[in-house]
Symmetry: C2
Subunit: 194 residues, 2 copies
């Protein structure tokens, strides 16, 4: 089908998304790549959990999944190792000034709780898109909030008070392991320095 003269097809995706900032997921993935290539940590995003129903094998090496469904995740999206310690976290963006707890599944909360119980490091990374601020909130601080209140969302103020602001840099884009280092390895978050 030909287009009438004078109409130029534009790449809608490019014009819509081109000038946006990178998503939190992209920032974390590129940071994890930086951490891996610099031999600082080995942390990956897990693949999306799906149930495959129908696969077509046109040849030995080529397989096309033709029917599959998304599963509810039972764990968090990211895990790996840093300085011998098991690291586990979930990352979320929100357009609101509060982080809605519906954004995180009950299974994922329980998973973070278990990880901490077994001696690992578990936390949330949350980006507030309005102000473009990203915070790390330790799992225990998250559970403190859930125990103290029946609120269905966590205000940004709680992240400012109890979490840690992560500045956006060039490389790694989102240096969350510097914060992890401060909190869990130097103990600055929980110990009073006199």
């Amino acid at each position: 089908m030909k287009y009438p003269k004078g109409i130029i097809q534009t790449n809608k995706k490019l014009s819509t998304y081109g000038n946006r900032g990178m998503s939190l997921e992209n920032d974390i993935n590129s940071s994890n790549e930086y951490y891996r290539t610099h031999n600082i940590a080995v942390i990956y995003k897990k693949p999306t959990p799906i149930t495959i129903v129908k696969v077509d094998y046109p040849s030995r090496k080529e397989a096309v999944i033709q029917e599959a469904y998304f599963n509810t995740p039972s764990t968090t999206d990211y895990n790996g190792i840093y300085k011998g310690k098991y690291i586990d976290f979930e990352a979320k963006e929100t357009k609101q000034n509060r982080f809605p707890l519906t954004n995180i599944h009950a299974h994922q909360l329980e998973h973070i709780r278990l990880i901490i119980e077994h001696g690992g490091i578990g936390f949330l990374l949350v980006r507030f898109l309005k102000s473009n601020e990203t915070f790390l909130l330790d799992g225990n601080k998250l559970f403190d909030f859930l125990e103290q209140t029946k609120q269905k969302s966590i205000p940004i103020e709680y992240f400012k008070q109890e979490g840690f602001f992560i500045p956006i840099k060039y490389a790694p884009r989102i240096p969350y392991l510097s914060i992890v280092e401060e909190i869990y390895f130097k103990g600055e978050a929980y110990e009073e320095n006199t």
Copy 2:
């Protein structure tokens, strides 16, 4: 379409697979579930990595993946935490009396090497289907073999000498963490007891 009299349709899948032993993957998944429910360890199989090309959203909550492709995995299939330590492994079955190294991707070998370098525990679980024997082979023992020889497969004898046999039990089906405990926590594998 009706079937002629006297012909009874049988469930081919059931008759073919029904009497087989559980696969190594099923054994590990059920063992990991046992370890989780008994609060011994938090270890999961990662979802299969795929690239999603086309998704149909017939309604808000229902999404059907209509076109996707399998990716080459860059990490191992299983990871998690046991007694505060990061655990990472790949599991494979073979019909031969040797484990073909083509069964494991170069990226996965490199991943195991990095995990050990960063202070984690990395190994292979290999089941030899002919004899129905399953072994744990520590990552360093695997790299020793790769350095010492140009062979494209590891003979079962190497697993018997340098690896650890894992008996099949009822629950957990494949108690690989008992072996992990012996090797990495009690140091029986590498220290001489006098």
